[in-house]
Symmetry: C2
């Protein structure tokens, strides 16, 4: 039926966002609240309850609820088994929400949900083999393999951001060194931006940030757009490492399309350009076919849309 | 029915091997011929025709033919699109064989077939999420994700041996540097064994091999078993890199079990022991669950068994 819809919830470290999403991918109404980092499940329930009250206004027939959350998720049970930033209180997210609202609930890793959102509504629509990387403070990854989300045996798969491509590289919060996340995420760009500004005190990275400690990836991106060479070099290096990571990903998954999302992609050409160059150089050396590399068109709604898309798929 | 069987063919760079395999994984009869490296398809047809003549002797009901081959394989079409060592003449392997023999033919990458063999008959039986690495001269990999073989969009996936874990590492035939294959395969052990013997002329690696140029991974393994410290160090270093590679694999696939196969695993504890240690250290640092690491029980028949298992699964 044409007004079939789902609630999608995206649990972030600072904000829990939700929306009622139509089967064509329109977010009809939305709710944002600050995440209670010691009681993530309460935040989810607040968002869901608020949205259920708004269902009549949208005139839609909400069939299910989807929730995307960082960390390891046992998809079948709907249980969070490891979360890097949030305590959930009740980790049994599926049953906690289902006990409050009379709708089926599906829970997945947020990047898995985002990948499914790309498959259903986004740049990779219809591509049965796709990879999604979200380049934010950290790096999330989701893989659709032959039309199905890759989750692994315990729901701890698809952590491509924690594959190591430089065993002597910078230490990572995960306990390893030289993870992809430490080489081309927002925190990596910020770290190298600080180092660059220490070497080059004239860099507009420092002008934009005010002080070394305040430097973020966004300052590096702004400086690069004004042709600050120190900033451009930081982004080019991050892009080269991203290109290496992408070549690894393609050697494993051979996807039809790779979609990039997250704040870091707004750094633009110095980073994405050198990532593309490095990737193309590597695939050519290997006599592999070029792979489509797209940037998400779903914007900040990717989490809500992905979670809702999973709920729609699983309830149909 | 109890005497259901399939023909399995394993196309190697030097030998094309085939067998009639029962549904319980018994190889009832087998044929080995030298591979015609300029006409691989002819070799396959010779093996298949010889085996079909023997079907009556086995009393089995052969339902299908499976073929495993190195390189990129379009599974649906049964076409070899890239082969590192062999020219096939006719790359349309499926249709070429089906035009000679009245049985359905399925073609897959050899490591994909081996992974399916482990799933069906081997150490990973029943594990719906498994990874197989064959550590031979090169490194092959196959992944079963939620009970299905991962092939990718064009059949060029599951090339984990060509993921890069040290961008400044040794050059690889694939065109890149520091691929997993260059750090823990048989050729890597041989290369480092030669370097070790150059430094340590007393090493029994050199005694076993006779000359530097003749050194293979097997000589390094033999020397290590006699407690030659230079040989043991080569294998420990290769094992450490294997451990890093395995941690990457587990971060992506979260398999229930990883199965190791191939000649290099006979090098034994210096290599596998340090691989396990490195892997466990990394998974512990990441607070991940330990993953079962097994060695294949299918031995040299893994290729035949895997190809036959695929044929049985697809014809049932």
């Amino acid at each position: 039926m044409s007004n079939r819809a789902a609630i999608g919830v995206d649990v972030g470290g600072t904000t829990t966002k939700g929306g009622i999403v139509s089967s064509s991918g329109e977010v009809m109404t939305r709710v944002d609240i600050p995440t209670e980092v010691e009681a993530g499940t309460k935040s989810v329930i607040s968002v869901v309850e608020e949205l259920t009250q708004r269902i009549p206004d949208t005139g839609s027939d909400v069939a299910a609820i989807g929730i995307g959350a960082a960390g390891f998720v046992e998809h079948g049970a709907g249980r969070i088994t490891f979360s890097p930033n949030i305590s959930y209180g009740d980790a049994q997210l599926k049953s906690a929400v289902e006990s409050r609202v009379d709708l089926p609930v599906t829970v997945d890793n947020d990047a898995n949900a985002a990948a499914w959102g790309e498959y259903t509504f986004g740049a990779a629509r219809g591509a049965k083999h796709l990879a999604l990387l979200t380049l934010g403070t950290g790096i999330g990854s989701g893989f659709v393999v032959d039309g199905r989300v890759l989750r692994g045996f315990t729901g701890a798969g698809a952590e491509f951001g924690h594959t190591v491509i430089d065993p002597t590289g910078p230490p990572c919060q995960c306990g390893l060194r030289g993870c992809v996340e430490q080489l081309c995420s927002g925190q990596a760009v910020a770290r190298e931006g600080r180092a660059a500004a220490e070497r080059d005190r004239q860099s507009s990275i420092l002008t934009f940030a005010g002080s070394l400690d305040a430097i973020t990836a966004e300052h590096v991106g702004r400086a690069a757009r004004q042709f600050d060479e120190s900033a451009r070099e930081v982004l080019r290096n991050a892009g080269t490492m991203l290109g290496i990571a992408l070549a690894n990903l393609i050697n494993v998954f051979d996807p039809e399309v790779v979609v990039l999302a997250g704040g870091v992609i707004r750094s633009g050409e110095p980073m994405l350009g050198s990532a593309r160059d490095e990737l193309n150089k590597r695939l050519t050396a290997q006599r592999r076919r070029p792979t489509r590399l797209d940037v998400t068109v779903l914007g900040k709604d990717i989490g809500i849309l992905g979670a809702a898309a999973l709920a729609l798929a699983e309830s149909s």
